[in-house]
C-alpha cells in the first residue's frame, strides 16, 4: 500500500478519535482564550489603578504592590514554557492533595498563559492611546474609573481584536503540549493512533493536516468577523447624508 493509501486507511479507522481530539483542542483554545482575556482584563486594571498623591500611604502601597504582582505574573508566564507550567501545575496540585482532572488543569494552564500575553497586548493598546483621550474625559468631570472603563478600555479592546484572534490561533496549536499531562486533545489522539497502528509518520502527517485545516478555517472566520465590524462603520458612513457644513 502506498503512503497515501495507508494514510487514508488510517483516517477511516481513526477519524472518531481525531474528531474527539479536535473537539477538545478547539474547546481548550476557545475557552482558554476567553478566560485568558477575562483574567488579562483584571490584571491590567489592577496594574493601571490610578494612584493619587494624597491617598493614605497604606492604600498607595497596596496599589503599587499589586501592580508589581501583576508584572511578576506576566514575567513568570511569559518566561517559562507552557509545557513546564502544565507539569508544575498538574503534578504540584496533585502532590499537595488537590485532585484536579486533566482537562481542568489543561484549561487553567492555557487560560493563565493567555492572560499573561493578553495583559501585555492590553497594556500596549492602552499606552498607544493619545493621552488627550483621558484628558478629554477628565475635563468633562469623569472619574479616573469612568475614564478607564468608558473611554480608554473600549478603544484598546477594539484595537486588539486582531491580537486576540492571533492568540486563539496560537492556542489551537500550543494546546498540543497539554498532551504531556494526559489531556486528550488532537495531538494526544494522534499519538494514540500512531502507537496503536505503528504508522507513526502517517499518523502525525494526518494530525498536521487537521491542525492546518483548522487554523486556516479559523483565520478565515476571524477575517470575516473583523470585516463585519469594518462594514458596520462604513454602513454608518453611507447611511448619513453628506449635507451641512
Amino acid at each position: 500500500m502506498s503512503f497515501l493509501g495507508r494514510m487514508t486507511a488510517l483516517f477511516i479507522e481513526g477519524y472518531p478519535l481525531l474528531i474527539e481530539g479536535l473537539r477538545s483542542t478547539l474547546l481548550l483554545a476557545i475557552f482558554g482564550t476567553l478566560f485568558g482575556l477575562g483574567i488579562g482584563l483584571i490584571l491590567i486594571t489592577v496594574q493601571k489603578l490610578h494612584v493619587m498623591d494624597q491617598e493614605p500611604f497604606f492604600k498607595k502601597t497596596v496599589k503599587k504592590f499589586n501592580a508589581q504582582l501583576t508584572k511578576m505574573y506576566v514575567a513568570f508566564f511569559r518566561g517559562t514554557p507552557m509545557l513546564v507550567q502544565a507539569m508544575v501545575f498538574y503534578y504540584g496540585l496533585n502532590q499537595m492533595g488537590f485532585r484536579i482532572g486533566f482537562y481542568a488543569a489543561g484549561l487553567t494552564v492555557v487560560s493563565l498563559n493567555t492572560a499573561a500575553y493578553l495583559t501585555e497586548v492590553l497594556k500596549a493598546g492602552l499606552n498607544g492611546l493619545d493621552v488627550g483621550q483621558s484628558e478629554a474625559a477628565l475635563s468633562l468631570g469623569m472619574t479616573h474609573g469612568q475614564t478607564y472603563r468608558l473611554v480608554l478600555l473600549p478603544q484598546a479592546l477594539k484595537n486588539m481584536v486582531p491580537a486576540i484572534g492571533n492568540e486563539l490561533i496560537v492556542n489551537i496549536k500550543d494546546t498540543a503540549v497539554l498532551s504531556v499531562i494526559g489531556v486528550g486533545e488532537l495531538f494526544y489522539m494522534g499519538r494514540a493512533l500512531a502507537s496503536r497502528t505503528f504508522l507513526y509518520t502517517e499518523a502525525f502527517v494526518l494530525v498536521s493536516i487537521v491542525y492546518l485545516i483548522t487554523v486556516l478555517v479559523m483565520v478565515e472566520l476571524l477575517k470575516r468577523i473583523s470585516r463585519l465590524s469594518d462594514k458596520d462603520a462604513s454602513r454608518l458612513l453611507n447611511s448619513q447624508s453628506e449635507v451641512g457644513v
Partner: protein
C-alpha cells in the same frame, strides 16, 4: 468667576508660569495670546487642574481647587474644555460623544442626555451628523463636535486651547464662527489662539503673555490699537506680517 493667585508652574526645567494673577468675569470673552512657550496653554490647563500648579491658587466661584477627585469633578462639570486636537472619543458617534458625560457625570437618563447632545450638535450646525464616527468627519466638524460635547454639559465657562491650530485653513472659519456664536450669547469663554481677526472681532479682553508672565491685560480694542509694550507691538506686527 475664576480667580488665579500667584500661580507658578514648573515642570522641572524652570518655571513656565511665574506668579500669574488674573480674574475672569462672567460673560466675558477673553483671548490669551503670546508666542509659543509663553505659558498660555499651561495657564489654561491650570484653570481646570489638568495641570496641577506648583504654587499658587485657582478659584472657581468660591471653590478653591485642590487635587481631590470630588472637587475636581465638581469644578470640571462647570468648566468645559476644547482641545487643539479635538480628542473626540473615537469609538463613539458624535451623539454618543456628546451624551456620555451628561449621562455618566450628571446622571441624566439616556433620553434626556441624548436630547441634550442632539440640541448641542444642532447648535453647532451638525444636525445631519449625529450618528457619524469621528473618523468620518473633517477637522472642522470634529472640532465642532468637541464644542458640542462641551456645551452638552451646560458649563458656566468654556476653555479653548488653540481650537483652530490643528485645522486645515479652509476649516478654520466654521470653527471660529461657532465660537463667535457662543460669544454672542454672552457665554464666558477663555480662548488661547493666534487668530488675530477673531480676537479683534469677538474678544472683550486680551491677555498677552510672554515668558510665563502676563505682559498686557487690556480691553481688546485698545490692545490692538495701542499695545502698551514693545513686546506686544512686535508680536502683533509679526502676526499681521
Amino acid at each position: 468667576m475664576i480667580t488665579v493667585e500667584n500661580l507658578l508652574k514648573d515642570f522641572g526645567q524652570g518655571p513656565i508660569l511665574k506668579d500669574v494673577n488674573l480674574t475672569f468675569k462672567e460673560g466675558e470673552v477673553t483671548v490669551i495670546m503670546g508666542p509659543s512657550g509663553s505659558g498660555k496653554s499651561t495657564l489654561l490647563r491650570c484653570l481646570n487642574f489638568l495641570e496641577i500648579p506648583t504654587e499658587g491658587q485657582v478659584m472657581f466661584e468660591d471653590i478653591t481647587l485642590i487635587e481631590t477627585p470630588a472637587i475636581l469633578q465638581a469644578v470640571r462639570q462647570e468648566v468645559a474644555m476644547v482641545f487643539q486636537s479635538f480628542y473626540l472619543f473615537n469609538h463613539m458617534t458624535a451623539l454618543e460623544n456628546c451624551s456620555l458625560a451628561p449621562r455618566k457625570v450628571l446622571g441624566l437618563s439616556k433620553e434626556v442626555a441624548s436630547q441634550r447632545a442632539e440640541d448641542a450638535l444642532v447648535e453647532v450646525g451638525l444636525k445631519d451628523f449625529l450618528h457619524r464616527l469621528p473618523k468620518t468627519l473633517s477637522g472642522g466638524q470634529k472640532q465642532r463636535v468637541a464644542i458640542a460635547r462641551a456645551l452638552a454639559m451646560k458649563p458656566k465657562v468654556i476653555l479653548f486651547d488653540e481650537p483652530t491650530s490643528a485645522l486645515d485653513p479652509e476649516n478654520v472659519q466654521e470653527v471660529l464662527q461657532t465660537i463667535a456664536a457662543l460669544a454672542a450669547k454672552k457665554m464666558t469663554l477663555i480662548v488661547v489662539t493666534h487668530e488675530m481677526g477673531f480676537a479683534k472681532k469677538v474678544a472683550d479682553r486680551v491677555i498677552f503673555m510672554d515668558e510665563g508672565n502676563v505682559v498686557e491685560d487690556a480691553k481688546a480694542h485698545s490692545f490692538f490699537i495701542a499695545p502698551k509694550t514693545e513686546r506686544a507691538r512686535n508680536f502683533i506686527k509679526n502676526l499681521s506680517y
